[in-house]
Symmetry: C2
Subunit: 374 residues, 2 copies
């Protein structure tokens, strides 16, 4: 049995991620590998950290990419900040809040759930009630941009409430980073995690994270060891922190770091404000076209994410939406995302992310939909 090289067809990626990648980023990965402790690589690590601080709008020292996908970034935040017996308030309004609950419970802690409907932003009143009812809560965790529903919650207000009740905050900004404002320091977020493959338009596999001084102090005061050796920040810090020994912990994914560096440099060159504005503009073009085709939006305009469009399918196509997505993929090389959980078969998730937030991609998408739905 002969193994031929895998030669993927170029596809227009307008699902929930991965997004299409700038050729500069793709090219960077084929550069020669060097050692994970090579001084040149250590210099690259410092550049990546500095660029990540810009993307997160933070001065946090401990800002680096976890050497694994976003789910591992999430787990890094929880296993380091949560100890057995702790109480964590989780605002859930989609799939990823549920995953936070799994993380908290696997740390031997208690999750207090503040539930909102899928497609609605986190209700601040419900959160405040939960904080009052649980004065011993240690952390408030929430999803800034729910990839399963396309809703954005008011991170600044959530963090303010958490601070007023002396809680740390953990924020999932997997889908927001680079696409809509993520202002860690201004908001006072203590731990945040993202993914490389959404609005940063880097291949999947890395999870940018950032921790405040207060979070690091909390980690320093732990009574128990972090349950994961691989994700234990007290060990990882010795590899990633400037001024630290830069000693071996694990072998970093060197070529993936080349790509992250390149994609962050592209973001810096464009400027965050310009990137946010571009996502907004392309979202509006897509929205206008989708409304004409009979789609409507799951999420109210006020909390709608430009980069993740959760659209309710026209009645006429609900019973064949899977086949239509197949046709889009096979005949138009266009990927759009299906609904998750209770929204499966009812919505599509159309991503307008990073390098893919372009007039070209919007044209391809609307043109293909016009043909397929005609």
């Amino acid at each position: 049995m002969a193994y031929l090289p895998f030669t993927p067809t170029y596809k227009t990626l307008m699902g929930p991620g991965p997004s299409n990648i700038d050729p500069r980023v793709l090219e960077s990965m084929s550069r020669p590998v060097i050692g994970h402790l090579d001084p040149d690589f250590v210099g690259l690590m410092d550049d990546i950290k500095s660029l990540m601080r810009y993307a997160f709008q933070t001065e946090n020292d401990l800002t680096f990419p976890v050497s694994a996908p976003g789910s591992a970034g999430m787990e890094t935040c929880f296993v380091n900040l949560v100890e057995p017996g702790d109480k964590v308030i989780i605002c859930q309004n989609g799939v990823f809040g549920g995953r936070m609950k799994e993380n908290v419970e696997r740390c031997g802690a208690t999750a207090i759930m503040v539930m909102d409907d899928w497609g609605k932003a986190v209700d601040l009143n419900k959160l405040e009630t939960a904080l009052k009812d649980n004065s011993d809560a240690k952390i408030v965790a929430f999803v800034h941009a729910e990839t399963s529903t396309g809703v954005q919650s008011d991170a600044a207000s959530i963090a303010k409430l958490a601070q007023a009740h002396d809680c740390l905050t953990i924020m999932d900004c997997v889908t927001s980073l680079g696409g809509t404002p993520v202002l860690l320091d201004e908001w006072g977020i203590d731990a945040a995690y993202s993914g490389s493959q959404k609005c940063l338009s880097c291949p999947p596999g890395l999870s940018p994270v950032s921790f405040s001084a207060r979070a690091i102090e909390t980690i320093g005061n732990r009574k128990t060891k972090v349950q994961s050796w691989f994700l234990d920040l007290s060990l990882v810090m010795n590899y990633w922190n400037e001024g630290a020994a830069r000693s071996y912990h694990h072998t970093a994914p060197v070529n993936a770091m080349y790509a992250l560096h390149e994609s962050l440099a592209i973001l810096k060159d464009e400027g965050l404000e310009q990137s946010w504005a571009r996502h907004r503009t392309q979202h509006e073009a897509l929205r206008d076209g989708l409304l004409k085709l009979g789609f409507s939006f799951l999420v109210d305009e006020a909390s709608r994410l430009p980069q993740l469009n959760a659209v309710i399918l026209p009645e006429s196509i609900k019973d064949r939406e899977g086949d239509i997505r197949k046709t889009l993929l096979n005949e138009h090389n266009l990927e759009v995302g299906s609904g998750l959980g209770a929204l499966a078969g009812k919505i599509w998730r159309i991503g307008v992310m990073g390098h893919g937030a372009s007039a070209k991609n919007i044209d391809i998408c609307l043109s293909a939909l016009n043909k397929v739905l005609a």
Copy 2:
């Protein structure tokens, strides 16, 4: 502040990994990204699993790459097979056995340590005594090829002893896979993990793992949830297993998988036996040159790894070995590895791995050493 593209100099990588990469593999990573649930990607996943079964010499269904480096592959084995209160016998003869102990203890289990000197193979008599003294032990864990010392242990005999005492086996074959025989089914290993960046000559970032039917049964009978959501095989299986729902768990590092596929295909094309023989031949050429230069080997010939040469430094250079490694790196673009722990400053670790197990690399290494030590 302008960020220029990072343009790493090509270096001859003869440390403990990463190793030099075939241009075919480097090129593969710059192919267009496609979705992690795209049918074309699912087909690639199946090809990768099939090629990995060849590399591991196993028929195990559950054979796939963990989406993170070797340390996460190690953790995958331990957190899935170990439950709180379990007893695990660990054979330690270097750095990585110590990391196993950390893993076991962080699972709330007890580690029974069977200690051997660094540079010595696991002593089967000591292991047998430990098995007799701990009839309630559930697992025997050991490092097949210790990257910190260059020693290979007798995996077949260790596994046989473990089976005779009704224990599962966990084997670290990070440095052996592809370089020296790894015969999971013949030896009866229950869980094995490796790394992409050693003798497979793929960029770092992925950890090939394989689990026997007995291991899967043990996982199925767990009384407690796996403490890591990201590494929980009961969830990961639904994404990786043929015939399974192929449902979303995490976003796989798509382009890194292109590279793993290409590097495994290269191994298959060459043939395992031929690859093992090439490592042996190039090791012998290096050994002859090093002996002439006054180096000696830490490890007895019988248990010496061809792909990781732990060499004792000539007395004359011990006090300036760090400077010499810097000169090799800066003036000859040659990376060799330092000693770890108690062996720091006493040995070097010279890797002859994968694509780098070539006459060209051996020539570059010996020629540079001849110049620098002259």
